[in-house]
């Protein structure tokens, strides 16, 4: 059995270690202060794919949507064991909400891997935190989905058994292939980069990363001739024959009504003890101000 697995991965700003300079004075995200990283739960997803590859043999293809720099996600996945990847990139995809994103991803999967066995992604990305893209991809492709995956228990005769994380415990479910899994952060962490793979692919670049130059003008140009895998493949809207009206802003029913800049300016501080009385008082106060609840 050689499985065909597509891993959905996203490059996100690292919102886990937000410092005082995370926002610009204008209230937008200060991207230079928040380095772009591989979405953490997508790394958990990649690990699940690689474990299946170790066990059964599989072709693991990473699919990511984003600008040229998102090719870093593909390189990182390949360093850790993925076989290759596609950068889905087009101006027409810009401004996509989860519906338009899942449409683009589903269309791309149909194009690059029509006979896919498993699509695995992280539960959610740390920038939007919606957890919608995985399930919507499943719907658009008409596939079963298992969310909150913690561990793949077995895969026999086209049936996958999965332990999923639920409130207060775990649940074991089965599905026939093909299906979509979204993986929880409590699943096994991703393995490290493999040195031989790292050294082999370290020069891999997507065309969009070249910035006004060509492969032939790069240092070690002949390498790109001899090793086609060093050219990361890009897919545009046209390449995957996507319907423009369902892409990007045009395909996004989510309308942002307003964006509010909230800049916390502490004028005073309050000191509270750990007593029940103080804690209850704080909860009441936060409820009253609709900060929580």
């Amino acid at each position: 059995m050689s499985l065909k697995i597509v891993v959905l991965a996203k490059q996100v700003p690292d919102t886990r270690n937000v410092g005082p300079d995370a926002m610009t004075p204008e209230g937008t995200v200060n991207r230079s202060a928040l380095p772009a990283i591989f979405n953490p739960e997508d790394l958990n997803a990649l690990e699940q794919a690689l474990r299946l590859k170790d066990k059964f043999g599989a072709t693991v293809t990473v699919l990511t949507m984003g600008p040229g720099r998102a090719a870093e996600v593909i390189r990182e996945a390949v360093y850790r064991g993925a076989d290759g990847g596609y950068l889905l990139t087009d101006r027409a995809f810009a401004g996509a909400d989860t519906l338009a994103t899942s449409y683009a991803l589903a269309t791309a999967i149909k194009h690059v891997c029509p006979d896919v066995d498993l699509i695995i992604g992280g539960r959610q990305a740390i920038d939007g935190d919606t957890a919608q893209v995985g399930p919507q991809v499943a719907e658009k492709l008409g596939l079963n989905q298992i969310t909150y995956t913690e561990e793949i228990l077995s895969l026999e005769n086209g049936i996958i058994r999965v332990k999923r994380h639920i409130d207060g415990g775990v649940e074991t479910v089965e599905s026939k292939l093909p299906c979509v899994l979204t993986v929880n952060g409590s699943a096994a962490p991703c393995r490290p980069r493999n040195i031989k793979r790292l050294l082999r692919f370290k020069r891999a670049l997507a065309p969009l990363e070249l910035q006004n130059t060509t492969y032939a003008e790069l240092p070690y140009a002949s390498e790109y001739e001899k090793k086609p895998y060093l050219k990361i493949q890009q897919l545009t809207c046209a390449d995957v024959e996507a319907d423009l009206s369902q892409c990007g802003l045009a395909g996004s029913p989510t309308k942002v009504k307003a964006v509010e800049n909230i800049v916390f300016k502490a004028k005073e501080s309050k000191v509270m003890t750990g007593s029940d009385e103080d804690v209850n008082g704080l909860i009441r106060e936060l409820l009253a101000s609709h900060t929580i609840g």
Binding site: R191, P192, I195, K196, L198, L199
Partner: protein, 570 residues
């Protein structure tokens, strides 16, 4: 995210700023002969150095995010002895798995055996980094270095059989020590006999203090020549655990490096293979094995010193007394400065030694493939001597420094340092073995003394003294010259006395004076290139070393043959 390579720019400096590095890369890569055949092979020197950096970034990542966080649990749990086998502490398996998945095994082996073909210098850096996270785990992982001896002296069939397995993550051990053969390995009694019927060698007897003694592949020193009693009757054997016949009788309960199982082994007619020629086991192969292992312990020691620095600095910044952070008190800051100075000086010596070893080993390896040119033969001879002379300095001094740094680290923690909650106590315990195993500091002195008396170090130091330094460093250069003059006067007067016992007694003093003078020069060289990294340490270290040289010189100036009686004890 923390990374124990990129967070420590001093290591990267050592990797990138030596004029020897391009030569090392050319030799190791055989003028880039692999580049068309292996996709992971570099195209040129710059490409190779880029790859080295990337490799060490992975080591730094795994160490910071897997090995270091596991260190406390591994130390507390330790390995288990079950049915004649070793079961590691549970998190040791996590560490080993991460290393294997990353492919950080058989790092120096040629690509044709599935190795990474990395220079010893890069492997040494990896060793140092891993040790900073957990010196006990580094012990297990770095025994992969034994494969170097099998590669050098085993036959092609053995190379093909064993090297890919080590590259794939199988562990190794070197089975040398026995109850009555510690420092004196000539007394090894483990019996190797040839089994005519099955056409193989058999091992019978026991070994003690064997690090990672339940490993997959063992190199074993045993007596193949019945009736002999000295080193010439010993040969080297390869024992493959898959063949069975060696059991673990017990695991030692140690002061430190708890994660690393130290085993007593029983050989019951265990099948094994002869490695290399009979009778050369100790005099040739173990000496080679030991030199590699000593460089490894030097790296482990530097890693521990780095850990001591990290812990001490963090605590001194954080801990407040008398209304301010204790780092602001000169008495504390001096201890910190001393730790950093010893760390920077010792590290400079470590990598200088590793580079010497690299050039020597690469040329030696090339000599197995083709005849060397006369220039190459001269280069091989020079670097062989440099490696041989500098290895005992790097091992002895760095292991003593690791101990001192661990001590100072606890001192900076005050009463908290004496409690088991802080990492400093583990560093202190782990450091203690470094000045003992793979040859005590006293034996490093024995290995170095001939290069002291024959003027070899003096020649190297003399060459360094000829190098011009920028005006702002001229005063340091003068002080170093004065230190060296003092050292040479002491050597001359000890030689003049022409008394072996006096020389043996003076050896440790001359050894430290030499090593300190060497490290001053290396640190001066580094500081000139990167004052922001090494400027302070240069100042502190030269002050420290100069005072130390004066102390040793004063003692030696007063020591004469008549006093020897007072140094004898019965």
């Amino acid at each position: 995210m923390a990374n124990f390579y990129t967070d420590i720019p001093e290591i990267k400096f050592e990797l990138e700023n030596s004029p020897l590095m391009p030569r090392i890369v050319e030799l190791k890569e055989r003028d880039f002969a692999d580049r068309d055949e292996y996709a992971d092979a570099p195209q040129d020197v710059a490409d190779a150095v880029d790859s080295y950096n990337r490799v060490l970034e992975v080591v730094g990542d795994i160490t910071a995010n897997v090995v270091a966080p596991n260190a406390e649990d591994v130390d507390a749990e330790g390995p288990h002895h079950e049915n004649g086998r070793v079961r590691y502490a549970s998190k040791t398996y996590e560490n080993l798995q991460a290393m294997t998945q990353a492919g950080l095994n058989g790092m120096t082996m040629p690509r044709r055996y599935n190795g990474l073909n990395l220079p010893v210098t890069v492997y040494t850096a990896a060793n140092e980094i891993v040790s900073t996270g957990d010196a006990g785990f580094e012990n297990i992982w770095s025994l992969q270095d034994c494969i170097e001896t099998l590669y050098c002296f085993g036959n092609e069939e053995q190379r093909q059989k064993y090297i890919p397995r080590v590259c794939n993550g199988e562990t190794m051990s070197m089975d040398l020590t026995e109850p009555d053969a510690g420092s004196d390995l000539q007394s090894v009694m483990l019996k190797a006999t040839y089994d005519e019927e099955n056409e193989c060698w058999r091992l019978n007897g026991s070994k003690r203090f064997i690090t990672n003694g339940d490993s997959d592949i063992h190199l074993v020193l045993a007596r193949s020549e019945a009736g002999t009693r000295d080193g010439r009757g010993l040969s080297m054997f390869i024992y493959d655990k898959r063949d069975g016949g060696v059991d673990v009788r017990r695991i030692e309960n140690k002061l430190g490096i708890h994660g690393s199982p130290t085993c007593e082994l029983v050989y019951k007619n265990a099948k094994c293979e002869l490695c290399g020629d009979r009778k050369l086991g100790l005099i040739k192969y173990v000496m080679s094995l030991m030199n590699g292992a000593r460089l490894g312990i030097a790296a482990q020691s530097v890693g521990l010193s780095q850990a001591a620095w990290n812990e001490a600095l963090a605590y001194a910044r954080d801990r407040r007394q008398f209304g301010k952070a204790i780092i602001e008190f000169p008495a504390v800051a001096e201890m910190l400065s001393n730790i950093k100075a010893r760390l920077d000086a010792g590290r400079a010596l470590l990598y200088q030694t590793a580079r010497y070893v690299d050039i020597y080993k690469a040329l030696e390896d090339i000599s197995r493939e083709r005849k060397l040119t006369p220039e190459e033969r001269a280069e091989l001879k020079l670097y062989n001597r440099l490696a041989d002379a500098f290895t005992p300095l790097a091992k002895g001094m760095n292991s003593e420094y690791a101990n001192q740094n661990g001590y100072d680290c606890i001192q900076i923690h005050g009463g908290s340092g004496f409690m088991l909650e802080y990492a400093c106590q583990r560093i202190y315990r782990d450091a203690r073995i470094t000045s003992i195993y793979e040859g005590t500091t006293q034996l490093q002195t024995v290995a170095a003394i001939r290069y002291i008396t024959n003027g070899f170090y003096a020649g190297v130091i003399g060459e360094w003294e000829q190098q011009s330094v920028p005006a702002e460093y001229a005063a340091y250069a003068e002080r170093l010259k004065a230190m060296n003059a003092r050292l040479n006067a002491c050597i001359a007067s000890v030689r003049e006395a022409d008394n072996q016992e006096l020389l043996d007694l003076a050896a440790r003093h001359l050894y430290e004076m030499t090593a300190e003078t060497v490290m001053c020069h290396l640190l001066l060289h580094n500081a000139v290139q990167a004052p922001e990294l090494f400027g302070k340490s240069l100042n502190v270290y030269v002050n420290m070393a100069e005072a130390d040289v004066t102390r040793h010189a004063t003692l030696l100036e007063h020591l004469d043959v008549e006093q020897l009686e007072n140094y004898r004890r019965e």
